[in-house]
C-alpha cells in the first residue's frame, strides 16, 4: 500500500499536484475545528471588510469573517461528499460483486435496475425532493438521496472486474474449500476491486459536492448551514459582485476550483494507475 503511494508520488506528477491541492483544502477545512467564532452566527465582525491582515479573506455583508466561515463551509461540504461517497460505495460494491459473481438472472435483474438508475435525470428528482420535504431536507437526507443515485456507473465497473475474477483459479479453490458466497465476495474478490473503489470515490465526491453546490445556490437546501453552495447563495442574494464585495465570490470560487481540480487529478492518476476502462465514469455527468 505504502509502496504504491510512494510510486504514485514519484512517477505521477498529476497525483502529486492533486495531493497537494486536496491537502491544502483539507488543512483549511480542518482549521474550522479551531475556529474562534461559531460560523453559523451572523454580525460577529464588521461587515464588508476587504481582505486584510485582520480578516484574511475579508468579511461578508452578513458580518461573518470569511476565513472561518469558508473553513467551516468546506469542512461541511467535504464531509457531505465523503458521506455520499461511502454510502454509494457500499451499494455499488454490493451490487457490482453480486451481479458479477452470481451471474444469471440475479445479474440480469440487477443490471436492469442499474440501467434505470443511470437513465433517470437526477437534478429534477432532487428538486422534487426539496419541493416536498422543504425544511425537512437537511444535509444527511440529501446525502442519502444522492447516495441512492450515485452508485450505478461504479457498480457496472465493479461488475466488469468481478466477471473476470469469477473464473480465476483462486475463486474455484475457495468455493471447493467450502467458503460461503458472502465470504468469497468479501475476502477474495473485494481486495481486487478496492483500487476502483478508491478512484471512483473521488469522482463520486466531485459529483455529489457539485450537486450540493447547485442546489444550495438556488436556495434549495438548509441555507443556514454553511456549505460551499450556501456561501455562494448568500453572496448572490446580497448581489456581492454588484456592490463590490468581490472577495465574497472570488475567494470561494477559487477554493472550489482548487478542490475540484485536486480531487479530479487524484481520481485520474489513480485510474491510470489501475485500469483505463474506468474512463467511462469520468465523462460528462
Amino acid at each position: 500500500m505504502f509502496a504504491v503511494f510512494r510510486d504514485l508520488i514519484r512517477y505521477n506528477l498529476e497525483f502529486t499536484i492533486g495531493l497537494v491541492l486536496v491537502g491544502i483544502v483539507a488543512i483549511f477545512a480542518a482549521l474550522s475545528f479551531f475556529s474562534p467564532v461559531d460560523p453559523t452566527l451572523i454580525y460577529m465582525a464588521i461587515p464588508d471588510q476587504p481582505p486584510s491582515a485582520q480578516y484574511w479573506f475579508g468579511t461578508n455583508s452578513r458580518g461573518q469573517d470569511l476565513f472561518w466561515h469558508l473553513s467551516a463551509a468546506f469542512r461541511n461540504s467535504l464531509m457531505f461528499g465523503i458521506t455520499v461517497a461511502v454510502l454509494s460505495r457500499i451499494i455499488s460494491i454490493t451490487v457490482g460483486l453480486a451481479a458479477g459473481y452470481l451471474g444469471g438472472w440475479v445479474d440480469r435483474i440487477l443490471m436492469f435496475i442499474n440501467d434505470i438508475f443511470v437513465a433517470v435525470p437526477i437534478f429534477p428528482i432532487l428538486v422534487l425532493f426539496y419541493f416536498v420535504l422543504r425544511n425537512n431536507m437537511d444535509s444527511f437526507t440529501m446525502a442519502l438521496i444522492l447516495a441512492c443515485f450515485g452508485w450505478p456507473f461504479d457498480a457496472r465497473l465493479i461488475r466488469s472486474v468481478a466477471l473476470g475474477l469469477k473464473h480465476r483459479e483462486f475463486t474455484r479453490h475457495a468455493v471447493f474449500a467450502g467458503m460461503s458466497t458472502r465470504k468469497v465476495l468479501l475476502e477474495e474478490h473485494l481486495p481486487y476491486v478496492m483500487p476502483i473503489v478508491f478512484s471512483t470515490f473521488m469522482n463520486n465526491m466531485l459529483w455529489s459536492i457539485g450537486m450540493e453546490v447547485t442546489l444550495a445556490v438556488l436556495g434549495f437546501t438548509n441555507i443556514n448551514n454553511p456549505t460551499i453552495g450556501t456561501v455562494l447563495y448568500w453572496a448572490n442574494s446580497h448581489s456581492a459582485m454588484v456592490v463590490g464585495t468581490w472577495w465574497w465570490i472570488v475567494i470561494p470560487v477559487i477554493l472550489i476550483v482548487i478542490t475540484f481540480l485536486g480531487l479530479f487529478l487524484l481520481a485520474v492518476s489513480m485510474n491510470e494507475y489501475i485500469d483505463p476502462r474506468s474512463r467511462l465514469r469520468r465523462m460528462g455527468a
Binding site: I116, A119, V120, P121, L232, I256, F260, L263, A285
Partner: protein, 334 residues
C-alpha cells in the same frame, strides 16, 4: 435484421421501464411527503389576501378534489397515471389557469435546442480532438488542448456558468447574459428574432460545451491510443493505406462504438447540467420554469417538469441506442 429487432425491443423495454419506475418513484415521493399540497397552496393564497373561514373551507374542498389527496393510495396512483396519459397534470398555480403541461411545452423547445446543439458540438469536437490527440501523441497543440479541457471538466456546471456570467456580465459585457431573446423583437420566424435567439444562446451553450469537452476528449484519447497499437493498424500502415483512411476508417470508427454507448449513459447528467445552466443565464427553458415553480409552490408544474424530463431523457437514450448497431455490426447479428 432479426438481431436488430431484438436489440430494439430490449432497448424499448428499458425505455418504458425507466419512464414507469421514474414516474412511479416521483408519485411515491409526493405521496409520502409530510407536506400536504392542499395546505401549502392554501397557505400561499391566504397569506396574500383576507379570506373568510367559509371561503377557506370551500377552497380547501376544491383543492382537495383537484389534487385528489383525500383518496387511498392505489386510487390516487391510478388517477395519476390516467391523467398523465391524457397529458393533463392540472392547472399551473403560478400562471393560473394555464395548464402546467402547456408551460412545460413552451419551455421545452428552448431546453431541447440548447441540449441538442451543445451535446452535438461537444461530442463531435471532443471526440475529434481526442482521437487526433491519441493518434498524434506528441503534438503540442493537442497536449495543450487536453490540459485545458481536462482542467475545466471536473468543475460543476453551475460554477463554470457562473464564472462565464461574471466575465461576460461584469468584466467584458459583449454578449447578452440573460433571457432567450431581446426584449425589442417579437417571437416569429424573422431574421432579427433568429439572430437574437442565437446571440442569447451563445453563452449558455458555450459553458455547457466547456464542461462537456473534457470527458469525451479523455475517453477518446485513451481509446485511440490503445487502438493504434493493435496489429491491424500496424498492418494497414505497412500495407501503405492512406493515413486519413487509417485515422478515420480504422481507428476512429472503432473507438466511436464505446463512445456512443457512453453518450447514452451521460444524457441524463447532461440534461441536469442544461437546466442548471439555463437557470444561471435566465434562459426561458424547463430549468428556469422548474426553479420558478418551486419558488412559487406550484405543485402541478414541478410534477409536469419532472415527468417530461424523465420521459424526454429516456426517449433520447433510446434514440442514441438505436444508432449503436449502425456503428457496430456485431449487435446486428447477435
Amino acid at each position: 435484421m432479426n438481431g436488430y429487432l431484438v436489440f430494439v425491443g430490449k432497448r424499448a423495454l428499458l425505455m418504458f421501464a425507466v419512464i414507469f419506475f421514474g414516474i412511479s418513484a416521483m408519485f411515491l415521493v409526493t405521496y409520502l411527503s409530510p407536506i400536504d399540497p392542499v395546505e401549502q397552496v392554501l397557505g400561499r393564497l391566504s397569506a396574500r389576501s383576507n379570506l373568510s373561514p367559509e371561503a377557506i373551507a370551500s377552497t380547501r374542498e376544491a383543492l382537495t378534489a383537484m389534487f385528489g389527496t383525500g383518496q387511498p393510495m392505489h386510487v390516487q396512483y391510478w388517477n395519476f397515471w390516467t391523467r398523465l396519459l391524457q397529458g393533463d397534470l392540472g392547472a399551473s398555480l403560478m400562471a393560473f389557469p394555464t395548464p402546467a403541461m402547456e408551460l412545460v411545452m413552451r419551455g421545452m423547445p428552448w431546453t431541447l435546442g440548447l441540449l441538442l446543439t451543445s451535446t452535438v458540438i461537444t461530442f463531435v469536437v471532443g471526440n475529434l480532438m481526442g482521437g487526433l490527440a491519441g493518434y498524434f501523441q506528441n503534438n503540442r497543440f493537442f497536449k495543450a488542448f487536453g490540459i485545458v479541457t481536462m482542467g475545466l471538466q471536473p468543475i460543476p456546471y453551475y460554477i463554470v456558468a457562473f464564472i462565464i456570467l461574471i466575465i461576460f456580465g461584469f468584466l467584458w459585457p459583449v454578449l447578452p447574459i440573460s433571457g432567450g431573446f431581446s426584449m425589442d423583437v417579437r417571437p416569429s420566424w424573422t431574421m432579427p428574432f433568429i439572430l437574437s435567439v442565437l446571440q442569447h444562446s451563445l453563452l449558455p451553450a458555450f459553458s455547457l460545451v466547456l464542461v462537456g469537452l473534457g470527458g469525451w476528449f479523455i475517453g477518446m484519447r485513451a481509446l485511440v491510443s490503445n487502438i493504434v497499437t493493435e496489429d491491424y493498424v500496424t498492418y494497414a500502415e505497412l500495407a501503405g493505406v492512406k493515413r486519413e483512411t487509417i485515422v478515420s476508417g480504422y481507428v476512429m470508427r472503432n473507438a466511436l462504438v464505446p463512445q456512443v454507448t457512453a453518450l447514452a449513459m451521460v444524457i441524463g447528467g447532461v440534461f441536469s447540467g442544461t437546466i442548471i445552466t439555463e437557470q444561471v443565464f435566465n434562459y426561458p427553458g424547463m430549468g428556469s420554469l422548474l426553479v420558478d415553480a418551486v419558488n412559487a409552490g406550484d405543485y402541478s408544474t414541478v410534477l409536469a417538469v419532472c415527468t417530461v424530463s424523465i420521459t424526454a431523457v429516456a426517449f433520447a437514450i433510446f434514440i442514441v441506442d438505436l444508432l449503436h448497431p449502425l456503428l457496430d455490426p456485431r449487435v446486428r447479428t447477435e
